[in-house]
C-alpha cells in the first residue's frame, strides 16, 4: 500500500511538472506567434505595406492605370492631378498602379520614373538636379552650363532617346505635395513639364498629388492652359458599415500566417469585437470625427500596444481605453500641471474676459483682479510679491496659454503689454474640476466673481 501511495505521489508530481511545462511551452508558442502578429500588423498600420487593399476607389484606380498604360505602352503624353484630403490614400493609389504597371514586361524595360516631393525639392534648381540624378544622367550632363531651365530639361529628355533615335523612353513624373511646387518662382518646373506633355517630343506622364481642393486656383494662367484638367478625386466616400468591414479586415491576420489554429482564434476574436456594442460605439465616435484610415490605424495601434503574452487577444476594454487616449484635450492636461498661483491668474483672466467681453488685458489688470481676491482676510495666504506673480504670468506665456496681441515692441513695458487668453470658459471650468487638491476658496472664486462680495 505504501508503494501505491508512493507511485500516486510520483505520478501527481510528474503531471504537475508536465502541465507547467505545457503552459510554459504554450507561453513560448504564444510569444512567437504574438511577435509575428506584431510584425504583420505594425507593418500594416505604421508602414502602409503595398499589400493593402483598395477600399472603394476601384473606379479611380481604373482611370489611373489606363492613363499610365497609354503613356507607357502607346507613347501618349498625359497629365493628371490626384486630389484628396490627408490620409485618403493618394500615395497608396499611385504606388499600387505603378506596381501593376511594372509587371507588364515591355513596360519595365523602357519606362523611367521620377519621384519628386514638394517638401524635399523646395526650388526648381534642386528639382532639376534631382531629376538629373534619378534619370542617371549625371555623367551625361557633366559640367555643362545651360541658358535656361527649358534647355536643360529638353537636353535631359533628348538623352533618353533609344539607340535607334526613333522614339524616346516614356517618363512618368510623380509630384507629391504638388501644391508646394506652385509656390516656386514663375512655376518654371510645372510650366516646362506641362509644356512638354502638350508638345509631342517625349511621351511624358505628369501625375500630381495634392490635398488642396483649390489647386487649380494656384496655377498660373499659362501653366493652367497647358494642363489637361484631368482630375481624380479621392473623397473617403464610404459609410459606417463599410468602415466596420475595413476595421475587421485591418485587424485580421492573413491566410498565410504560419499557425492556422492561432490565426483562426485571432480572427474569431476580431469578429466578436466587431459585433460588440461598446466597440461599435467607439468606432462610431471615431468615424464621426475623422473618416480617414490613418486615424483608424492610430486607434488600432494603441490597442495593439496592450497585447502581451499574458493578454494575447485584444478586448473591447482595450479599444475603449485607446479611444480615450485619442480624444484627450491636451490643453486641459497642461492646465492640470499648473501651480495654484498660475490657476489663480487664469481665473482672474476669466473674470476679466467675462466683465469686458474678451477685450485684451495686460498683466497689471490681471494683478489688480487677483488682488481683489487676495485682500479678503481669509485669503492672505496668497499674498505673494508682485515679481513672483510676474514670474508665474511669464510661465503661462511660455506655455502659450496666453499670447501677446502684437509682437513685443520696444515701446511698451512688459507689465502693460496687451495679451489674450487662449482658453475658453468651459475648458477652464472642466480643468478646474480635475485639478488635484484645488483649494475650495479658489474654486468658489472661479464659479462666480461676485461670491466674495
Amino acid at each position: 500500500m505504501f508503494e501505491l501511495f508512493h507511485f500516486h505521489l510520483k505520478h501527481r508530481f510528474q503531471c504537475i511538472k508536465m502541465s507547467s511545462r505545457k503552459s510554459k511551452s504554450n507561453n513560448v508558442i504564444h510569444a512567437e506567434y504574438l511577435s509575428q502578429v506584431q510584425r504583420i500588423l505594425r507593418e500594416r498600420f505604421c508602414h502602409q505595406s503595398p499589400q493593402s487593399n483598395l477600399f472603394g476607389v476601384q473606379v479611380q484606380y481604373k482611370h489611373l492605370i489606363e492613363l499610365l498604360k497609354r503613356t507607357a505602352i502607346y507613347g501618349e503624353s498625359n497629365s493628371v492631378l490626384i486630389i484628396g484630403p490627408r490620409g485618403s490614400g493618394k500615395t497608396m493609389l499611385i504606388n499600387h498602379a505603378l506596381k501593376e504597371l511594372m509587371e507588364v514586361e515591355e513596360v519595365s524595360e523602357n519606362v523611367l520614373q521620377v519621384h519628386l516631393n514638394g517638401l524635399l525639392q523646395i526650388n526648381d534648381k534642386i528639382a532639376l538636379k534631382e531629376i538629373t540624378r534619378q534619370l542617371n544622367l549625371e555623367n551625361v550632363v557633366g559640367d555643362k552650363v545651360f541658358g535656361s531651365f527649358a534647355e536643360n530639361l529638353s537636353f535631359l529628355l533628348e538623352a533618353l532617346k533609344k539607340g535607334d533615335r526613333s522614339s524616346s523612353c516614356p517618363v512618368i513624373f510623380i509630384l507629391d505635395e504638388f501644391d508646394l511646387f506652385t509656390h516656386h518662382k514663375n512655376q518654371t518646373l510645372l510650366y516646362n513639364l506641362f509644356d512638354i506633355s502638350q508638345s509631342a517630343q517625349t511621351p511624358l506622364a505628369v501625375i500630381g498629388l495634392t490635398c488642396r481642393l483649390d489647386i487649380l486656383e494656384l496655377l498660373e494662367k499659362r501653366v493652367k492652359s497647358r494642363f489637361s484638367h484631368r482630375q481624380i478625386h479621392l473623397m473617403n466616400s464610404f459609410g459606417f458599415p463599410q468602415y466596420l468591414k475595413i476595421f475587421k479586415e485591418q485587424l485580421s491576420l492573413p491566410a498565410e500566417f504560419p499557425d492556422k489554429l492561432f490565426s483562426e482564434k485571432w480572427n474569431e476574436n476580431v469578429q466578436c469585437l466587431m459585433e460588440d456594442r461598446s466597440v461599435r460605439e467607439v468606432l462610431q465616435k471615431h468615424f464621426n470625427v475623422s473618416k480617414n484610415l490613418r486615424s483608424l490605424h492610430m486607434l488600432l495601434m494603441l490597442a495593439l500596444n496592450r497585447v502581451t503574452t499574458s493578454h494575447p487577444f485584444i478586448t473591447a476594454a482595450d479599444l475603449m481605453e485607446a479611444n480615450q487616449l485619442c480624444s484627450m484635450d491636451s490643453k486641459a492636461n497642461i492646465v492640470h500641471g499648473l501651480s495654484v498661483l498660475e490657476i489663480c491668474l487664469i481665473i482672474a483672466m476669466k473674470h476679466l474676459n467675462d466683465i469686458y467681453e474678451e477685450e485684451p488685458f495686460n498683466f497689471q489688470m490681471v494683478y489688480n483682479e487677483f488682488q481683489k481676491f487676495v485682500q479678503r482676510k481669509a485669503h492672505s495666504v496668497y499674498n505673494f510679491e508682485k515679481p513672483v506673480v510676474m514670474k508665474a504670468f511669464e510661465h503661462l506665456q511660455q506655455l502659450e496659454l496666453i499670447k501677446p496681441m502684437e509682437r513685443t515692441s520696444v515701446n511698451t513695458q512688459r507689465e502693460y503689454q496687451l495679451m489674450k487668453l487662449l482658453l475658453d470658459n468651459t475648458q477652464i471650468m472642466n480643468a478646474l474640476q480635475k485639478y488635484p487638491n484645488c483649494p475650495t476658496d479658489v474654486r468658489q472664486w472661479a464659479t462666480s466673481s461676485l461670491s466674495w462680495l
Binding site: 505594425r42 505604421c46 508602414h47 524635399l120 523646395i122 492610430m298 500596444n305 501651480s339 513672483v388 514670474k391
Partner: protein, 398 residues
Amino acid sequence: MPHLENMVLCREPQVATLQALFGERHHFSFPSIFIYGHTASGKTYVTQTLLKTLELPHVFVNCVECFTSRLLLEQILNKLNHLCSSEDGCSTQVTCETFNDFVRLFKQVTKAESLKDQTVYIVLDKAEYLRDMEANLLPGFLRLQELTDRNVTVLFLSEIVWEKFRPNTGCFEPFVLYFPDYSIGNLQKILSHDHPPEYSADFYAAYINILLGVFYTVCRDLKELRYLAVLNFPKYCEPVVKGEANERDTRKLWRNIEPHLKRAMQTVYLREISSSQWEKLQKDDTDPAQLKGLSAYTHVELPYYSKFILIAAYLASYNPARTDKRFFLKHHGKIKKTNFLKKHEKITSLVTLQLLTLVGHDDQLDGPKYKCTVSLEFIRAIARTVNFDIIKYLYDFL
C-alpha cells in the same frame, strides 16, 4: 526591467507605453511620436534613459542648440555616422545644406551593416523651435519614414501642445503621448531621493515637506525645487550642526528655516541674486534687509541731476512725441544746463545701472538713442524725492 525602474522614478506607465510602442528591434514603429508635458516632467530623461538602456540605435539633438536647418541636419547625419562606424577613426564631417540632401545622405548612412534593419530613432528635443525654422522641416520629419523608405522613427519632445504645431494645409499626424505632471506625493518621493548620506532619510523628508509647503503653491517645476532644496539645506541643518537642536526638534527647525525660505522666494527664486551670493549670505548670517539684488531698484541713491535725467528719459520714452508741446511749454525747468561732458557721464552711469538701455544701431549719425526701462512705481518714488509730480506729465494718466 527592474533596474530601469530604479533609475526612473514615478514614470512607470510612460516607460511601459514607450517600450510597447518601440516594440521589437526589427519591427516597424509609428513614423513619428510627439511627447508633450510640462518642463521637468521627465520627457528628455525618460526617453534618453530608455533608449540607452535598451541599446537601441538613436540620435539625440536639441533644437535650441541647432537653431538653423543646416546645423540640425548636419548634426543628425554626423551622429548617425558615428553610430554606424565602429572604428573611431577621423570620420569625415558631412555637409548638408538642404532637406533633399539630408534624405539622400540618410538613405546612404542607414545602409550600414551595424544597423541591420533595426529601427533608428531620431529624438528632437525642444521641438517647438522647429516651427520657426524652414517650413518644410517639420512636415518632412513627420514623414521621414515614408520619404526615406527606411525603418526610422522620429520622436518630438516639447512642452507646447500638438495643436500649435500643425501646419495650415495639414501634415502626417504623429502619435501623441502625454507625460503627466508630478503630484505632490511624487515630488516628495523624487526630492527625498537625493538626500545627502550624512543625514537620515526621515530628516531630509521632513525638510522637503517644509520646502514644498512654502513653494508648492507657487511653483511645481522639479528643476526649480531641486535647486532650492540643495541651496537651503545647509541653513536647515545649522541648528543641528551648532548643537542647538537635534534632528527631531521639528518646531525649532521649522522656525529657523521658514523665514529664510520666504526670503529665498523673493531673491534666489526670482534670480535677483546668484546662488553663490545666497550661499555667502547664509554663511555670514547678515540681516536680510541688506540683500543687494540685481535690480538696483531699492538700493541705489542717485545724484540730483541724474534723477532728473532719468525722469526726463521716462517721459521721453513713454509719452508720444506730439504731446511734448502740451506738457512742456510752460515748464519751469529745474534742469540747469550742465556741462555737456558731465551729462554724458551721467547717462553712461545710468546705462550701467541698467536704468536706461541703448536702443537702435551704433552707427546712427544723430547720436545714440536711449530708452528708460524702470517701472512706474520706481520713477514715482524717484520723482517724489525731488518734489516733481510726474503723474501730471504722463499722457496715459490724462
